[in-house]
Subunit: 363 residues, 4 copies
């Protein structure tokens, strides 16, 4: 088992980058939920490649076809399956890498695990392309959440060493919509321009660059999640590390909190609007694994795209000898900005699963 | 469900800090595995409080009593249950916090979830004391792993802004043993002294300080773990966020990788000793969720202890009005150094679970 | 993993028959639920051996000690652990069976699975004694269910070829209480006497006899459970086959339905008390895996106790040669009547788990 | 979550009877396994309707299209998705049943669970048609098992009160192949003719009839499965009750064992061919949840098709008043014979999952 997550809402992703199709099954989706296909496609557009010089030139149409679970635009209770055909494949690009695994790609580990039969064309099942069906699932989850007053949004917090400003203490639905409408998903337009310059510089050098995505959820009630191993952080992290290239996940203050004093890191409680709130949110909206009612805030580290034009050292497996590898073809010099909706999608899917479960602390 | 993790090896933790006892059930442990109780107790000693001025004065004897699963010092196949009685409780210390939740503790969220019935004496089920049975489980896992040539070790990578040196490219069993034998678990003794000074300074100011734990595993074969949502990172993170105070988890380069170029972050493959290895290990031994055969390396951010003597603002829940809270009693000014064996324990438990599953990529 | 079941409410059983203690962890129990210990002990009494000549003379005190999760008689939200010490063990009775496995016991399979280290004294982890902690869990579940108007009861439907009358179409709380108060759990006292005669006859011949337990739940709302693999039948059967000696599980008409015509087996819908009901209940209250609102009815086949005094053929494993085995010691000539509360317990635990999940078909 | 089963091999079924397509995802299938499509289609043919007068006239082409996981006829390690389009739908047949639920169908419970949005055309997700993708999964599992010397076969043990002979003590691969090649899957041809007469009689009366399927697996090693809640019986029953119309599952002697004495039901061990075997197999190859090495034998009760032409009583839900319902259209007078390959499929899928896990009792 590998490509599934969730407890009451199970999301199962299938497909290889250059296979016949990719898709997703959502099992446990509530019935009677309308899916606005226009809104869903607009969401999918946000992760699509080929929009500008910052992304690979590969074109994806990627309109999902719903095989089940959605009738007349409304969920019917039984598992939803959405499929996207793979087109515009140039599999010949990848024939070399079975014998000469690309550094920091999954070529080598897939070979060890699955043997020569592994279908690694275009990155196979490990490809970033598999985030398209994830976005279908997450886009549907976002619509269902929004109907309950829960909003999920994200922005590009950094590219290389260039940083966007962080989310405000209370990010709003409007702010999320504003970022989603931008061609480059940042809060501070100036930072966004410097990030794009950084990406283009990397591209011109035949290199790539990493980044950080910050994601938040507004409107969650307090009391969701369980202590220890089934808390919000556990469930979100378990899913978020499934997004290719994610190498770190932190909540609230995260690693920065580890540098602080308790008096700096603690969030004083206060009362606002008749509710218990906090004056700061270094907890990221989670204490003891359970939501506090403050916005949930997390960040994920996205490593630089491992596919770079610069020559690299690898091993020729048939010879078991070091060799030089030159990767050609179309590759994103940065995937962090395209990961923004993907992180939103996975976060939304986990939150919907937790909300379906409800607060069963009392009964 | 809340306090369990694992797939073929299920580890279930129970107990409240000031209840009758705490304990752990390990279901799925292989039979015929000797448990060296002396070695186990030495491991448990590493997380114990009350050893020096850096920790709370509370004394725990904490010798686990095995109710099942271990006969004549050898596992017998059926679920192992180990129990530790709670002694030296001063529950009167905590009566105040039900009405005036401590900032950045789980008092408030437990109250929202479980209502007035929540037993939060001493932090209840959220207490760091629950890491004692986790260490029983992890200590047993470590012994079983070592018998197969897999070694798990950790050190304190930072306290506040003071940093230890990182693990070398190939941390060894001997290095792990060396750190474990030290009174303060660091690689660089000088850094260790500065960290202890930092902790004492925080203590003198009635404050606390956070830290980072770096953990590594040597000897893992390549090919373990699955793509997407059941990979090594997913499974480890899901368990590690169950350790109280962990707010971030990263693998290999982690968040630092997000600041790098691909040419800096990629790990060139090479051949050494007849095996495919890598010249650097920013992947932390994991590509595509699957082990590469290089050491597995992770870091966890530990927030500063939320219990501080300095007065804090909170809300008096019966009045729904802000108030000042003064926490008295015994508290660790830093828990990061005591978290070192706990992170080892959880890592070892997850790795044993994955190893039990084997590489079922081919059959 | 082996000795756990449940989704939101996880029940984990540990212990060996002649180990230090047996027990159960309930993780996911709602907070604020009072546990009436007198009522619980009365329930546990129903499965106890040694009450009369129909059962083994072994004495168990079996008062559970609550290590966690229950404070001042009320659940506090964190995992509940209850432990029962093992006393009155005569382990010397069982030394023979490692080498000469008893027919139709788990001696041989435990040996194959766990090797010589398996602790099979008194049947080890496979012993019927492990149903005592199951009854603690189920007894607590029964109390929580009753508070919501859901009642679970069972009776001995047959012993050998002697049959009790079946439950009426609408078994009630009062009927369940009446059976529970009887020394022998049947509806028809005359059938009960013939069953007891059958058991005594088996005992006098150094033999044993099997039976069937019928269990019902009244008060369940319609709409619980999911289609296909997570329905009421799937979840109940998965747990019920965990009771030692259960070799068959059927719902409603069960195997008898397979002999009928559709016109005989179909349950016509009707209206009563303003609700949709059915005129018959061969569905056992379940259609498509989902509760109909009619009583849930199931039956489990309990095989005859494999321990009999009559000489039997087995294999001496060290010699790999057939041999004769004579089992001495104390054994129940029938366990089906003692299984009645156990089947209730497991059914109640599963139903509470399903109720905690709620009907998440719509949201 | 509803339509999935398995632990290391997760099988997820999706689709509604009259939706766009039905299908299955197999996640965790080992890589490098050839799938013989001709053999698979021959297996699928065995459950197909429309072959003779005993089945519905509905035609299904039902050639699965593989979207992922299978490249050049060999599994590649990533999740396999197979899809079958729905054709030949006459949805107008079913419009009546939303308001007037058919007795003993899932119409009413689906309505309670999912509300008016439930897509119950043709039985929706509850339709026997969903067993087609199950057979794709199970047919692939059968091929992988056969390559390891494990063979799964089934026959129709009874229709109404007409009984086939039971499997011999050691059913073989050859016997399974022989039954599979027959137009009507029985051991005793005479019994088969009487069964077919029984089905035709039911059909002529506008009625239907139930049956029992007996399934066996030869070649399983001893030591598979776990005690209590994760044993062979638990896992098989949990999956088998997912097959529509199954109302009972028993292993070995099953309910008949409950009528026996221990001396009649116990299976004496003996030695044959250097192995420990048993002289009888009332255990059905399972003791304590663990395989004995003898053939695994189970039976499932299949209720009579609830769709019958005879007028029935039901409730008109808009009026909440009893009414008469006349079901027209094409329906199988018996589905038990078509369930034979389905039971094989589910059994094979569970066995492959267990075999992938291996005997992790020792390590």
């Amino acid at each position: 088992m590998s490509s599934e997550f969730g407890k009451l809402l199970r999301i199962s992703v299938f497909g290889q980058s250059h296979g016949k199709a990719i898709g997703v099954v959502m099992d446990g989706l509530p019935a009677g939920e309308a899916v606005d296909l226009e809104e869903l496609n607009a969401f999918l557009d946000r992760r699509k490649p080929g929009k500008n010089s910052l992304s690979t030139a590969r074109r994806e149409t990627d309109l999902p076809v719903f095989l089940s679970g959605l009738e007349n635009g409304v969920t019917c209770g039984s598992p939803l399956c959405a499929v996207m055909e793979n087109a515009d494949q140039r599999s010949s690009d990848y024939s070399l890498f079975r014998d000469n695994p690309r550094p920091s790609h999954a070529d080598y580990t897939a070979f060890v695990k699955w043997g020569g039969q592994a279908d690694m064309r275009g990155g196979g099942h490990f490809s970033g392309r598999l985030t398209a069906p994830l976005c279908v699932a997450g886009g549907i989850a976002k619509q269902i959440l929004a109907r309950r007053g829960v909003y999920v949004g994200a922005h590009l917090a950094s590219v290389g060493t260039v940083e966007d400003m962080p989310f405000p203490l209370y990010p709003t639905q409007e702010l999320f919509a504003e970022i989603a409408a931008k061609p480059f998903p940042v809060l501070d337009g100036g930072a966004g321009e410097r990030m794009q310059a950084e990406i283009l510089a990397a591209r011109q050098e035949g290199d790539s660059v990493g980044g950080v995505v910050e994601c938040a959820a507004a409107g969650l009630p307090a009391g969701l999640g369980d202590p220890m191993f089934d808390g919000m952080e556990n469930r979100l992290a378990a899913a978020l590390f499934g997004v290719p290239a994610v190498k770190g996940v932190e909540f609230g203050g995260g690693f920065a909190s580890a540098r602080l004093r308790g008096s700096e890191n603690n969030d004083p409680f206060t009362v606002s609007g008749g509710n218990v709130t906090a004056k700061t949110n270094r907890a990221g909206g989670i204490l003891g694994g359970i939501t506090t009612g403050m916005p949930l805030v997390l960040r994920t580290a996205i490593k630089p795209t491992p596919s770079i034009l610069k020559p690299q050292r690898t091993v020729c497996l048939p010879d078991m000898a070091e060799t030089e590898l030159q990767i050609t073809g179309r590759h994103d010099p940065c995937i962090a900005h395209r990961a923004v909706p993907v992180i939103e999608a996975v976060t939304a899917a986990v939150l919907l699963d937790v909300l379906l479960e409800g607060n069963h602390g009392t009964f």
